[in-house]
């Protein structure tokens, strides 16, 4: 094991810096003695060659899309084009200050403007802000806009937000952060929105309903238009969680479905790399009646023959803006990467969704229809998480029949997949599907990868249950004891103490 804190070299071996503008004695004299630091943090003392080896060693103990197939449902783990990384490292991006005069940021603002327009068009919305820096923050910002909208109409007493039981956890968490009470409604027996359950809870206290469509089961809600009508008739607003936007681009839009507000996950649909947990970017789009409340600022432009490509761009604050939800102008780097991604597809973004859906349906078909030879060795097969003729960009499998027959759980199969060189699918979500595995292949996987994954997945179902239950066996570490971690809470290096 490579231990960062075991590096204890001479101080001179570390990163060399240019001489300061004053001697150290002069500089420190300018710091009041009462508040000077007495002992330095015990950071490692290492040279660049040593650290390059340490971080390379760590990277080799980490699995990314570059390593292999990453069918993590609801996360849209598609290929991250490398040109995007090259672009954000340019001086005209990396070394910009958000508070610089707009005249210093015209190229960036041109890209912002293009992204605002493109995202609005794709979702059927009237106005887009790129401010929120993650999907959850987009939800929070949009629900805050809806809250201010109701208050401005004298309907601030609307204090409830409705979410289906299949919703992402961020939906209820974001609405609660705005102060809303959460009403969770059950899905029907087929895993779809239950209009009866919706009618039973909707009323003059309804502020909004938050819906993911296609749902977290990967299924397009057949009665979405009826649901939006029910909520609108009660005076509520409809919020679209864009986590699954990858499935429908160019085919339909939240606007066509009747939604009033939407967030986009640029780190899902538009290839911003996930970076081991972030950064993301969660722009929001709204219909015109909500636009005046958007977080500030937006980019606007005017024709100007001396401007960049004939335009001058400026920042503009919506008139009744909720203010700011994060510090500067959003995750600009993620926006620029996503711009480069979108430019690669242009009007063919529809193709992206077609191939995402093609791959998901194909993989589902391959898994649920094993060859006769494999089928004869499998004692129990998983079943669809919800019945569907076709799915969208992802699908769910319930491993319950397998667990009942062999004792092998969904988690066991997930861990065994790691041995085969795959990332595991999303596990035990949505909660309404027992022993759930949620599989999302994305459009950037080849047929060969999907064929091989289906075969390996089915092969696991033929293996000795003990082998599967004790998996993984070939990874850097075996099954990790998460309970011990939570009980003992060793959250930092002891540094020998």
């Amino acid at each position: 094991m490579s231990d960062l804190f075991a590096f204890d070299g001479a101080p001179e071996a570390g990163y060399a810096q240019p001489s300061p503008l004053l001697s150290d004695e002069e500089a420190i004299a300018g710091i009041p003695e009462s508040i000077r630091r007495k002992s330095l943090p015990r950071w490692p003392r290492a040279s660049e060659p040593e650290l390059v080896r340490h971080y390379t060693w760590l990277s080799r103990r980490n699995f990314g899309i570059d390593t292999g197939f990453y069918p993590l449902g609801s996360c849209t783990m598609k290929h991250n084009p490398r040109v995007n990384e090259k672009i954000v490292q340019m001086a005209g991006m990396n070394d910009l200050h958000p508070l610089a005069p707009a005249s210093h940021l015209q190229g960036l603002m041109a890209i912002f403007y293009e992204m605002q327009e493109m995202l609005a068009h794709c979702a059927g919305m009237d106005s887009v802000t790129l401010q929120p820096v993650a999907g959850a923050q987009g939800e929070f910002a949009a629900i805050r806009c809806i809250q201010e909208y109701h208050r401005s109409n004298g309907e601030g007493s609307r204090d409830k937000v409705i979410v289906p039981d299949s919703a992402h956890g961020t939906n209820p968490a974001s609405a609660a952060m705005c102060g809303y009470q959460i009403i969770e409604i059950p899905s029907n027996e087929n895993g779809r929105l239950d209009l009866g359950a919706l009618r039973a809870v909707v009323g003059d206290d309804t502020a909004a309903m938050m819906v993911t469509n296609p749902s977290t089961l990967g299924i397009f809600e057949p009665e979405i238009a009826e649901a939006t009508e029910i909520v609108h008739n009660a005076g509520g607003q409809m919020y679209y969680d864009g986590a699954n936007f990858n499935a429908i681009l160019g085919k339909t839009s939240p606007g066509l479905m009747g939604f009033d507000a939407v967030h986009y996950n640029l780190h899902k649909t538009f290839s911003q790399p996930h970076g081991g947990g972030g950064p993301g970017s969660g722009p929001i789009g709204v219909k015109s009646h909500l636009a005046q409340f958007l977080p500030k600022p937006l980019v606007v432009r005017e024709e100007d023959e001396h401007g960049l490509d004939g335009w001058t761009y400026s920042w503009e604050d919506p008139v009744n803006s909720i203010g700011k939800v994060q510090q500067w102008h959003g995750n600009s780097g993620a926006v620029v990467r996503s711009w480069a991604f979108y430019r690669r597809y242009g009007r063919d973004l529809e193709k992206m969704s077609e191939h995402a859906v093609l791959n998901a349906n194909y993989l589902r078909h391959r898994i649920l229809n094993p060859s006769e030879e494999l089928a004869s060795k499998i004692s129990a097969m998983p079943i669809d998480g919800a019945p569907a003729r076709v799915v969208k960009h992802e699908f769910t499998l319930s491993m319950s029949p397998v667990k009942d027959a062999t004792g092998v759980s969904g988690k066991d199969v997930a861990k065994r997949l790691l041995d085969y060189g795959y990332m595991a699918p999303t596990l035990y979500f949505p909660m309404i599907v027992p022993e759930c595995l949620m599989v999302e292949p994305t459009e950037t996987e080849s047929k060969e990868v999907l064929d091989k994954f289906a075969e390996d997945f089915l092969t696991i179902l033929t293996e000795d249950p003990e082998l599967v239950k004790t998996a993984p066996h070939t990874t850097d570490v075996g099954r990790v004891d998460e309970v011990w971690a939570a009980r003992n809470l060793v959250l930092r290096h002891s540094l020998g103490e």
């Binding site: 570390g14 990163y15 503008l21 630091r37 330095l40 943090p41 015990r42 950071w43 971080y55 760590l58 103990r61 990314g64 084009p81 040109v83 990384e85 672009i87 910009l96 200050h97 210093h104 940021l105 190229g107 820096v133 993650a134 809250q147 961020t170 209820p172 609660a176 952060m177 959460i182 160019g250 085919k251 790399p273 996930h274 970076g275 081991g276 947990g277 972030g278 969660g282 960049l308 700011k324 600009s332 780097g333 620029v336 430019r343 009007r347 063919d348 193709k351 191939h355 076709v390 861990k415 459009e443 950037t444 080849s446 047929k447 990874t475 850097d476 570490v477 809470l489 959250l491 930092r492």
Partner: protein, 461 residues
């Protein structure tokens, strides 16, 4: 044609295998009434080479802060990130991974983040750190929410927090938005004439849930009163300190003078100002706040054979488990940028950190001396020391001065009235960092002198 779709041209084979004949059948579940009836009205697809041409033209039209003398900072700093930091952090195994939900194949990122937590813990002298918030402002806002959850029961001032006066809008507005859920009342903590917290009036905060202060304050003044604040507000009120991260190479760590929660903008460690994002917020606290804190945390544990291993822990605080009762809605955070920060910190080491802080301190002092030598320019707060930045009162409008110097090729700082409610239009906020040179200072001083003689004096006469 689009070149990142491996199954282009093989659609028919795949459809046939499923017993389908067209792609449209895959979308037949979308009700007619909500289907798009026309293709997307967007430009034609571009190749990588064409995208690069446009990227070069558009981003090339921007003015990078380090392409000229720059004194704009105010929470986001011109810096230099050693090449090795980006080279390591953007290795594909880090760059293209999701949140490490499967620890068995994510030990590399988990260990790197656990090491990051350790370095942050050492930096601020508090035992617990998470793996990042979005930025300093959301970290501050979440810290106040966390403190309300921990202290409200015993608080004599329920649902009340105090923040110092003169917070910029990009901080205060975020705090206000995040306070909606708990309906927290935000009151103002006054300063004395030196721009330091007025300890007498701070007694009013006793018994509230939290007090938020910054070190140095938003004008750049090092607040020498803060060490006495915790005594005054008491055990049942969280002292939340927003700190300039690099200053901790020379300034005492807040954990050593009473801070319960420390938040900071991590950007100077790891990444350029990058137009404001992605950057990352540092969030550290005492154990008392651990179970109510936001964000992801890595813990050390063992695998089934007793081998050392790392995993995400305390997930029961988080939205994917606790849903509307979660401590925060945060899911995606700024992990990769925190990784960059951690690598940068490791490369600096303790001596490098001190050197970096001294470079910043020296640049600030040299710049201040140069600017204050100009007749008619005065410090806003005259009795305190500054780090990284300071605020002067100009003999005219700061915006006017900025425009004038911009034309001379100097980015002279920030007109505080643009970001701070009630700020005088003559207040100019000037930032000097480790990247500032004597030539930069000469350009600033020369430009300001020229502006005063040509503009202010001309108007005055």
């Amino acid at each position: 044609m689009v070149d990142h779709l491996p199954n282009l041209g093989r659609e028919e084979i795949m459809l046939k295998e499923m017993g389908l004949s067209s792609i449209d059948e895959l979308f037949s579940d979308i009700p007619e009434a909500v289907r798009r009836d026309s293709p997307l009205n967007l430009p034609a697809p571009q190749t990588e080479e064409e995208i690069m041409v446009d990227a070069n033209r558009l981003l090339g039209a921007n003015v990078a802060i380090n392409s000229r003398p720059n004194f704009l900072g105010a929470g986001l700093y011109e810096n230099y990130v050693p090449s090795m930091v980006v080279a390591m952090a953007t290795r594909g195994e880090f760059l293209t991974a999701y949140t490490p939900y499967q620890p068995e194949v994510s030990q590399g990122m988990l260990q790197a983040l656990w090491e990051f937590q350790t370095m942050v813990s050492e930096l601020v002298a508090l035992p617990v750190s998470n793996v990042s918030m979005y930025d300093a402002s959301t970290a501050a806002a979440e810290a106040l929410n966390c403190a309300v959850r921990v202290h409200n029961k015993k608080a004599t001032q329920k649902n009340v927090v105090y923040v110092t006066e003169w917070l910029p809008e990009h901080r205060l507005s975020v705090i206000e938005n995040y306070s909606c859920g708990a309906e927290t009342e935000i009151r103002t903590l006054k300063w004395d004439d030196n721009g330091m917290v007025d300890l007498k009036s701070a007694e009013a905060a006793h018994g509230c849930c939290a007090v938020y202060v910054e070190q140095p304050n938003p004008f750049g003044v090092i607040d020498e009163n803060l060490a006495e604040l915790k005594q005054i507000i008491g055990e049942n009120t969280a002292l939340v300190v927003g700190v300039n991260a690099t200053s901790l190479g020379v300034l005492e760590a807040p954990g050593n003078w009473g801070a319960d929660i420390v938040v900071a903008e991590g950007q100077p460690f790891g990444i350029g100002p990058t137009a404001g994002g992605p950057i990352y917020g540092i969030y550290a606290c005492t154990e008392k706040y651990l179970r109510q804190m936001p964000g992801r945390i890595v813990g050390k544990t063992f695998d089934d054979k007793g081998k050392d291993a790392f995993t995400l822990t305390l997930s029961t605080r988080e939205q994917h488990i606790r849903r509307h009762k979660a401590t925060s809605n945060i899911c995606s955070n700024e992990t990769l940028i925190a990784l960059m920060g951690g690598i940068h910190m490791a490369l600096l080491g303790p001596i490098g950190l001190q050197k970096l802080a001294l470079r910043n301190a020296a640049a600030c002092q040299v710049t201040m001396a140069g600017v204050l030598a100009i007749e008619g320019v005065e410090l806003l707060f005259t009795n305190g020391a500054s780090y990284n930045e300071f605020t002067v009162v100009l003999p005219g409008s700061a915006k006017g001065a900025l425009d004038y110097l911009d034309k001379l090729g100097v980015t002279a700082g920030l007109a505080l009235c643009d970001v701070m409610s009630g700020a005088d239009e003559a207040w100019l906020h000037i930032t000097a960092t480790d990247q500032t040179t004597n030539e930069d200072v000469a350009a600033l001083v020369g430009g300001l002198k020229s502006w005063i003689s040509s503009t202010v004096m001309a108007v005055g006469s």
